[in-house]
């Protein structure tokens, strides 16, 4: 009995996956951009590409553009405003949605 258990663990790991597994995916609760009441807007002239906003963004919705500045994924950005508060160059402005 015990031998069998060890065998299952070591040689047939796939038999352990009896329960359905979730996989990492975008939008596990939908397009969270619709939650936003305020929209972060990058003022490109001021952005130095320092990546501080990228480091702090809780949603992983800030990306580097080819020119080294940042862009925001509005499909999922929840509009928290963390990026605007941490930017040392005041290069992100929060403007009301809609």
């Amino acid at each position: 009995m015990e031998e069998r258990a060890t065998k299952v663990l070591l040689e047939e790991p796939q038999t352990l996956f009896l329960a359905p597994l979730s996989r990492p995916a975008l939008g596990s609760v939908g397009k969270t951009g619709t939650w936003r009441t305020m929209r972060p807007v990058v003022i490109l002239d001021k952005c130095t590409g320092c990546k501080i906003c990228w480091l702090y963004c809780p949603e992983n919705t800030i990306f580097m553009r080819d020119d080294g500045k940042v862009r925001i994924d509005y499909e999922y950005c929840k509009g928290c405003g963390v990026c605007a508060n941490v930017c040392p160059f005041d290069a992100i402005e929060m403007v009301p949605e809609g």
Partner: protein, 314 residues
């Protein structure tokens, strides 16, 4: 070892479109784990906001292999997972990611047991100072004076000092960190990763929902906790205690910001802002905390600069 932001991996560690509230400190912290440790990480998560943040099956909003587990079993399940990986010859970081309730109250016996057995795991307490997932009830890590739905005139007891209790277990590594200082947290994770045995990191995670502040201020509140002296940042490695370089200066009370600056940003302290006696109790708590830090510094030193050498070598 200094962390260069530009060299950190830029990948989806938190999947956009997850269920966390705007400005969530837990999703911030989760991103830093993989920035520091890479992909070779398995998370063990007991009940809490991070169970819910994952979203609705079959999708998950957290890009890690995760074992979701009951409160009481997080540290023991992680011990077993590590043993199983070892039996398979796999070198994997098994990381527990548990809330303050899951760490200081409900999961404490398993945590204490795993620490005493010196299990080869990293245990991170993501401390938002209450049971947030079930609607902001007090935990033993809720601080004095804070409003919660079960302490609606303000909590009467002080915060339980879990990192200190873990130092008392004599484990290999204990550190405190704050989501306000991500590079410090990443550095600590990287140092912890180089050590074998039980490692504990206490991560302060200000929650805009439960602490009642503007969600844009998560990082700022997390920084103020350190700058007011309320949350000292330190490391304890193999019996040597050291204040973290960015937080060393707050040892001097004159360099600390007035604690009221921290309290007034948070609705959970609204009722005590014009009660000087109550604010004084929090100031006294800070004083006492630093007496303890002083004692730890004096107790856990290494002769002849060996202490610094230990930190530099990792």
């Amino acid at each position: 070892m200094v962390v260069n932001i530009r060299k950190l991996p830029d990948r989806y560690y938190i999947m956009p479109g997850n269920a966390a509230c705007p400005g969530c400190p837990e999703t911030m912290g989760l991103r830093y784990i993989k920035m520091a440790l890479g992909d070779n990480v398995v998370l063990v998560i007991p009940a809490g906001c991070s169970s819910v943040i994952q979203g609705i099956a079959p999708r998950s909003g957290i890009n890690f292999p995760i074992l979701n587990i009951v409160f009481a079993a997080a540290a023991s399940a992680a011990s077993g997972l590590k043993a199983a990986f070892e039996a398979q010859g796999k070198d994997v970081h098994v990381v527990v990611w548990a809330g303050d309730g899951g760490t200081g109250d409900i999961g404490f016996q398993a945590l204490s047991g795993a620490a005493e057995r010196d299990e080869d795991i990293i245990y991170i307490c993501v401390d938002n100072e209450a049971y947030m997932n079930t609607g902001i009830q007090r935990s033993s890590l809720t601080p004095y004076g804070a409003w919660t739905t079960t302490t609606w005139t303000g909590k009467k007891e002080h915060k339980k000092n879990i990192p200190y209790i873990l130092i008392s277990h004599g484990v290999k590594y204990v550190a405190t960190a704050s989501v306000g200082y991500p590079t410090d947290f990443i550095e600590k994770l990287q140092r912890a990763a180089k050590i074998r045995g039980f490692r504990y990191i206490h991560l302060l995670a200000p929650c805009p929902i439960g602490w009642r502040f503007d969600p844009g201020l998560t990082a700022k509140v997390a920084q103020l906790a350190v700058q007011t002296g309320l949350f000292p940042l330190y490391e304890y490695i193999n019996g040597v205690f050291r204040l973290s370089p960015i937080a060393k200066k707050y040892k001097d009370p004159k360099k600390r910001k007035p604690v009221i600056e921290y309290l007034k940003l948070q609705g959970r302290y609204k009722h005590l802002l014009n009660k000087p006696d109550e604010v004084k109790k929090i100031e006294e708590y800070i004083e006492n905390l630093w007496h303890l830090i002083d004692a730890l510094e004096k107790t856990f030193t290494a002769e002849g600069g060996k202490g610094e050498a230990i930190y530099r070598s990792l």
